[in-house]
Amino acid sequence: MAGDVILEISDLSKSFGPVRALRGVNFELHRGEIHALAGENGAGKSTLMNIIDGILQPDRGEIRLDGELVRIASPAAAQKMGIGFVHQEIALCPDVSVAENIFMATTNASRSFLMDYKGLERRAREVFAQLSDIDPAVLVRDLSISNQQLVEIAKALTLECRVLILDEPTAALTEAEAQVLFRIMRRLADQGISIIYISHRMVEIFDNCDRVSVFRDGRHVSTRTVADITPGDVVAAMVGREISDLYPEKLRESERSRREVLRVENLSEVKRFRDVSFTLEEGEILGIAGLIGAGRSEIVKGICRLEGEVTGEVWLQGEKLSLRDYQDSIEAGMVYLSEDRKGDGVFLDMSITANVSALKPEQVANALGLIQTRREEEQAGTLGRKLNLKCGRLQDPVSSLSGGNQQKVALAKMLSVNPRLIFLDEPTRGVDVGAKVEIHRILRDLARDGVGIVVISSELPELIGICDRVMVIHEGRIRGEVSGAEMTEENIMHLASGTTRATGAAPQAAK
């Protein structure tokens, strides 16, 4: 296999303004191999993939495809060269059929005046014959998330690609579906297609890939055959230090207070989740794991009445809550940090100060309801220092900050009301490693100070690293709970995909 290089990248660099996303990266992809790409968010993986797919142009460096120097001007050009990219976000048209979605590029390139629906469907069936039993005639919006993911992969396959890039394809899949995908990947590789596989899950990388390349801070750190290294080596290479100092110290048994911060009893929502009951003790950090779409965010949003018609009881520090809406939840001291920072976590075009004061602008106003600029700046300044926020002026819009600092503004907004309990949904998504470590430390400090902390995350190492206990959701129910030594990626994944009987304390499993 060695020497048969299909894609060779040398000395590739790319900057966005002052941010150097890639610094002289070298990378080689062999024919017919499955090559894993590992690295923290912001390490440069996405930038590199976007360059290979023609979405971005490099500032410097060379790309050789089959030994030939190429310039990939656009995604369409990449397709012509046989490069297929399955993005992490599903980008399908929900209102048209699976067949039409798969052949969107072909249809676009077609010269004929009329649509040949029959032909599309027939060819779609041929593609799916080797993939799964999805009916090409149904509309995409009627498919489950995992089937939509398979449609995306089918779409890439129809382009007769030589290089297939898969960006975290299993994030929304169950264990069984993921296994099907891995078999398909291996078959494609055997046919000579080279696959670049991006994932955070070490188990997947070590079970299914041939080689792994690690990126950190825009640099290529190493490329090794998986047989030669351990998952620990990869993680250490990713973060550039030993894992032990990446996460803050956990709650010691002697520190346990056994005072209850939150008690949730039989929380249900018509469509999304059922019979959810759990408690949170003062000082501990509780994690919530589960596949995308399992209902993790929905449960938390239900508790603070952000969405859904919810039944069940919620007790905060021994006091039963009856909330009408989220404003009541904030009044009670229970806040939610959104997973979609840019979409609904911050007001991008408003100032840092206005963002921080948004939960309760009355706090920085006088008795007449007039906002006192000085008090607003004091509030943002105090919280900003506490969270080590890096910014120019406090009146600058939040859009001028980096992802990590935007997230700190969102966090400062939560802290501005001195909450008793914070739900954090993907608190470090799109945040660089440095800020990530800081945010983890802040969460631990808050927990020590008696603030209840509940973290939802799709990154299992993060959950295992910062939580004292992890609750796993599967199809809208609590499937089980792990803590201490049982808290491993493998155990959590099994619970999340529903492949084993629940282990450990499983309050609802008997029902």
Binding site: S338, M350, A358, I371, L394
Partner: protein
């Protein structure tokens, strides 16, 4: 950690420079400069331009409409829009005029009419926030309905209100010293709303909602209530404007205010309001209205055909929005 949070000291380092810079960046400064340039140019072009009579006429021309501009700006900031302002203003005149002719005290009739307009706003707010229809469509329908109601109630003819008591007409026609009451009221409304919009928590929530409705909801703001209230406020201010017009004209005109929505929206947008919500200021919007009014007046004085006026006004709007688009881009 050299770039940690700016301490008050760095912000205060050179306040004069930052103030000048901030002023130059502000939309209002640009508008004032353009208006001043027009004034200077026109004072050479026409000796009549800089006379008290002409300035008073120009001010009167936008003063009442300016009250509607205030309502529209607040609504635009919250992310809404209202096409029915012209019809609702006319309806306010017609309802009050009709009630007065039926023998009701003019002040009471005006109060009831403003209430009716407020109810129309609440009606639109119900459709946009509770049912979830778009502002554009709801207010388009109400624009047509309200106009129809005006025509139905009057048979299409203006209602002559010759018996209006003088103290009522005073609000539309009187003046304190040399300054017309209309202009005084206009300034009171503008200054009050400009201040509230800049400083109060209540109106801050309007900005949050328009800037990013979902993020506002995730900050515990009852966004539907905010939009409901801004929609209602806009119609209520149309009601107030209608009453002032009625007092000024001494009649209720069912066809009054045709095309007013375009003028009002144009003024707000020229003044910095975005149709996407989240930005805008009362001061800027009023400057936008002033600019449009000064241009109209100038064209009239220069004997430009009235038919050209709309073309020029439309072009100004397009230019302002285009310039803004590029300014925002270079900043972002």
């Amino acid at each position: 950690m050299d770039h940690t949070v700016n301490m008050p000291t760095t912000a205060k380092a050179d306040p004069s420079v930052s103030l000048v810079k901030r002023l130059l960046k502000m939309r209002e400064t640009g508008l004032i400069l353009i208006i001043l340039a027009l004034f200077i140019g026109m004072s050479f072009a026409s000796p009549y331009f800089l006379t008290w009579v002409n300035i008073r006429a120009m001010t009167m021309a936008f003063a009442v409409e300016g009250i509607v501009v205030v309502g529209m700006t607040v609504l635009l900031i919250s992310g809404g829009i209202d096409l029915s302002v012209g019809s609702v203003t006319a309806l306010s005149m017609v309802i009050a005029g009709w009630l007065f002719l039926s023998g009701i005290d003019p002040w009471l009739a005006s109060g009831l009419s403003i209430l009716a307009c407020t109810a129309i706003g609440a009606f639109m707010g119900f459709f946009t926030t509770r049912i979830g229809l778009h502002h554009f469509i709801v207010s388009l329908a109400v624009m047509v309905i309200a106009r129809g109601a005006c025509l139905l109630g009057t048979g299409g003819r203006p209602l002559g209100l010759y018996t209006l008591p003088p103290e009522f007409k005073f609000i539309g026609q009187g003046s304190i010293g040399p300054i017309p009451i209309v202009i005084v009221m206009f300034f009171v409304v503008v200054i009050a709303f400009d201040f509230m919009l800049r400083r109060t928590t209540m109106f801050r929530k309007v900005f949050y909602t328009g800037s990013n409705e979902k993020a506002a909801a995730y900050s515990g703001i009852r966004t539907k209530k905010v939009v409901f209230l801004t929609t209602t406020l806009c119609s209520a201010l149309c009601g107030v404007a209608g009453i002032i017009y009625m007092a000024r004209f001494g009649s209720a005109q069912p066809t009054f205010g045709l095309g007013m929505e375009l003028n009002v929206i144009a003024a707000a947008v020229i003044g910095g309001a975005s149709l996407k919500g989240g930005s805008g200021s009362i001061f800027g919007a009023i400057l936008g209205a002033v600019l449009l009014s000064v241009v109209s007046s100038s064209l009239a004085l220069l004997d430009v055909s009235v038919y050209w006026q709309d073309i020029i006004r439309g072009s100004i709007l397009l230019t302002a929005v285009t310039v803004d688009h590029y300014l925002n881009k270079s900043r972002g």
